[in-house]
Symmetry: C2
Subunit: 309 residues, 2 copies
Amino acid sequence: MPGHFSDRLAESILRRRSLVCVGLDPTLECLPPELLERWRGRVSDLGDEAAVAGCFSEFCRGVVTAVADVAACVKPQAAFFEQYGAPGWSALAEVVRCAHEHDLPVILDVKRGDIASTGVAYARAAFGGAPGLTASTGGLDADAVTVSPYLGEDSLEPFVAATAEGRGVFVLTRTSNPGAATLQEQETGGRALYLHVAELVARLGAASSGRYGYSDVGAVAGATAPTSLRAVRDVLPRAFILVPGYGAQGGDAAALRGIAQGAAAGFVVNASRSVIYAWRETGVEYRAAAAAAAAAMRDELGSWGRGDG
Amino acid sequence: MPGHFSDRLAESILRRRSLVCVGLDPTLECLPPELLERWRGRVSDLGDEAAVAGCFSEFCRGVVTAVADVAACVKPQAAFFEQYGAPGWSALAEVVRCAHEHDLPVILDVKRGDIASTGVAYARAAFGGAPGLTASTGGLDADAVTVSPYLGEDSLEPFVAATAEGRGVFVLTRTSNPGAATLQEQETGGRALYLHVAELVARLGAASSGRYGYSDVGAVAGATAPTSLRAVRDVLPRAFILVPGYGAQGGDAAALRGIAQGAAAGFVVNASRSVIYAWRETGVEYRAAAAAAAAAMRDELGSWGRGDG
């Protein structure tokens, strides 16, 4: 990909005036009945992987198209697709392509982390470049990927290397789940473990910044732990932060106070279920409901996006 | 799956008198030329994902069949298959099925770790059980899976829950890569972080043991850090330990001194490249070379397998 990931994300934030990242976590139980019914007609029954995957693809592409003007980016969660095997993987690839047709940056949420030689293969799975392909570069062609730091610096390097080809990386620091503190908040050498990770992110990202001044190596830090989120920002003044845990997981807008940095705020806030399943609350058609929920979230977040520009 | 994962692994170790886990990490550059040539004949060229994936499937199934009498289990590494998209995922499923035809337990090496609701989906991707399927249970039907602990206890629970259906889990503690120490050896509360993880593994595995006395929740601990490996064993006297880093990564048999526990040793040692690419060193046909390398490793490890049985 040409240019810097961080510039593409900054430009999307500025153009759409939105800090919203829409998480694409398709689950069969929550799909709109009218869509399920249509797929029942197309195959003998839902009941095989290809049918469910086709349904997921249509649903997610519908959401992506609906939120294309109000979201800064989208974040497909690979797990939900992987459940349905090879057809699920194909559906995930279709969703990424659809987002690119709408010029929406894609953060592929996979949280991979392995020894370096395996990391190279995971980076190729996310970004392309596997050996032996002629007609295509292969891979999911994501703009950025989430990675887990447990294996240390060398495990992150294959992903960081991809920043030279315009890709981005978000390293988990302080996550949004209830058990996050178990390891991440362990104090070592005078500070919490997640801050050691944030410092590693700062080091890894130092060499790769776009013209908006943001690094292509960012961090994941949850809205459910606002103090930790601000501590991550202190260590990473010019990294993009991907903030999960907003909405369904309990984080609120007040958690974002003070974390905006730079001309394009320097963070995006993810919401998955509260946007893509908004139709279940409102009874409105699912795409219209998702667009309305994303727009409302964009407006709610608006005042937190003013940084030190 | 019926029964306990730990019993299936123990029985395989005892029946084959082997502690060898063969890692299946297919890379195009290292495949035998005669196999590549045959695939060039079948499709216009290698050059699309399906052709490479077909090649990977044939290669790995060849290795699995060749080592079926001398290996205790196999460990396909998902990353190498994911590089080639949906066809890669299908190839991975074929390799798992082939291992089961030979009654070889499969440890799926994916190192997943995410919030609990996503973890449920990853567990289904590995083991099956995704909603909406009728003809099959879906998923890769692996016997066990590797998981990463960075997100804490709740992130591991969906995998631990699967032990009730006969599946196994290996949680990363001290890994074998050069940068492993960065976080894992950080001292906190008087001991290294990886030992906190080992204690978490002990807690999570306490409720699930087979008739050989081993827990269905085990640990990954590398042969490249023998002192740490023994410390993990001290915390987990009755867990299976998956030991990577042997062979190509530099670990040797002396690292295994003292870690055998119970009637079936309680550990398996993984080797990937040194077994599956043995043909490159010896010039022998790849399946025969893999079988010979795995048998040599089995013999080399034999004396370390005597536990307190």
